[in-house]
């Protein structure tokens, strides 16, 4: 058997890209002449080009298909095209009566929606609902301790009323002066 497994030699680095293009005949006449001149002197580059010529045409071969396949392919494609055209026509027929007013109507609706959205954003229609507690001023809010306080205030008010009623009677007041209570007789 022919020895097919061998180490691969690289081409000269500054020629490699041009050699690929040379293989594909994608190079200008002047560049071609320069490359051929180099190839005449460089065995590595000659091997590189030879390798490309042997390997690349064998890459990913195409299936060879019979004429029947292509006839069937063509028929199928044309049938699909007809079907697509028929569907397109159905939509066109359906939309045709609306063509005259569809765009203006859509435009009007779009403008109306935009205007409403703008107004809502500016706050003319405040739809955000605040909680009941947020609407009550803080000073009105009382907790249980404050309620107790108000109850005691009522008692004090009652006491002063009682005191006023008793103002006609002699009253004993206690005065705290330095070394203890001193009883003062009014």
């Amino acid at each position: 058997m022919e020895n097919r497994i061998k180490p691969l030699e690289d081409a000269c680095k500054n020629y490699e890209e041009d050699l690929v293009l040379y293989h594909y005949a994608e190079i200008g006449a002047s560049e071609r002449a320069a490359i051929e001149q180099h190839l005449a002197q460089c065995l590595r580059c000659r091997n590189f080009v030879e390798d490309l010529g042997r390997v690349l045409p064998q890459m990913a071969p195409k299936p060879e298909l019979p004429q029947a396949f292509w006839d069937n392919y063509f028929r199928e494609t044309v049938a699909k095209l007809d079907d697509q055209a028929a569907r397109q026509n159905w939509w066109q027929r359906w939309l045709a009566p609306m063509n005259s007013w569809l765009v203006p109507t859509f435009g009007t609706v779009a403008i109306a929606v935009f205007a409403i959205a703008l107004m809502l954003q500016k706050g003319d229609f405040n739809v955000t609902s605040e909680t009941a507690s947020a609407q009550i001023p803080a000073e009105v809010l009382v907790d249980s301790n404050q309620l107790e306080f108000f109850k005691s205030m009522e008692i004090l008010e009652s006491l002063s009323t009682l005191e006023e009623q008793d103002s006609a009677k002699p009253e004993r007041k206690t005065s705290y002066i330095e070394n203890g209570p001193v009883q003062v007789v009014a």
């Binding site: 058997m1 097919r4 497994i5 061998k6 180490p7 691969l8 490699e16 890209e17 690929v20 293009l21 594909y24 994608e26 390798d51 490309l52 042997r54 390997v55 690349l56 064998q58 890459m59 990913a60 071969p61 195409k62 299936p63 060879e64 298909l65 019979p66 029947a68 396949f69 292509w70 392919y73 063509f74 199928e76 494609t77 044309v78 699909k80 095209l81 697509q84 055209a85 397109q88």
Partner: protein, 191 residues
């Protein structure tokens, strides 16, 4: 009188754009093999290649009015085929592999790297080389693979590949060189 088969691509496209859609059939007949082969190069699966290439015709026909003639019809159409193939590969997450060793369904089908006159061991080597080459192609970046397949398999000139890929000729040359270098390295034992 000039037959529709003798009309150029651009004339046929113009007729289609004017509402005479049946002229598109001539373009189908003209490009069906190329379209199928490009799709086959990308997918390595006959049925998928058929579906994708037929889909490319449907899309081309649906968008024929958008074709402005700035490029040739076939580079515009090949771009559709390639995009569909790349999209298919992206969606499926892999490239289908149809074994070259499989007996062809169609009479006369030959999918061997070398002709059947070769010795069995040579065929095995060729088959392995082909499998490795295809595996390398599958793992290659899409742009390198596209440039390589369009040049090596379809024989498109670099100038046309640049139009299909919407890039410069210099960039295509770089893609092509990188693809060939990668493939050559992967086939080091078989060269």
């Amino acid at each position: 009188m000039e037959s529709s088969k003798d009309l150029g691509d651009e004339e046929l496209v113009t007729l289609c754009q004017q509402g005479q859609g049946h002229y598109f059939d001539v373009l189908v007949r003209r490009y069906m093999e190329k379209a199928f082969h490009i799709a086959y190069d990308f997918t390595r699966n006959k049925e998928t290649a058929k579906d994708l290439s037929q889909d490319a015709f449907l899309r081309a026909y649906a968008n024929i009015k958008r074709f402005d003639g700035r490029s040739s019809f076939y580079t515009w159409f090949y771009r559709i085929v390639v995009n569909l193939c790349l999209d298919h590969a992206r969606r499926s997450g892999r490239v289908f592999w149809e074994s070259l060793d499989k007996t062809p369904e169609e009479p006369g089908g030959q999918r061997q790297l070398v002709d059947t006159q070769h010795q069995p061991d040579q065929e095995a080597i060729a088959g392995e080389a082909s499998r490795r080459a295809n595996a390398t192609l599958e793992s290659m970046p899409n742009k390198q693979r596209t440039a390589f397949l369009l040049r090596n398999q379809e024989g498109l000139p670099i100038a046309d590949i640049a139009k299909v890929m919407k890039t410069t000729e210099g960039t295509v040359r770089v893609y092509l060189h990188r693809a060939v270098a990668t493939l050559r390295q992967s086939l080091v034992e078989f060269v």
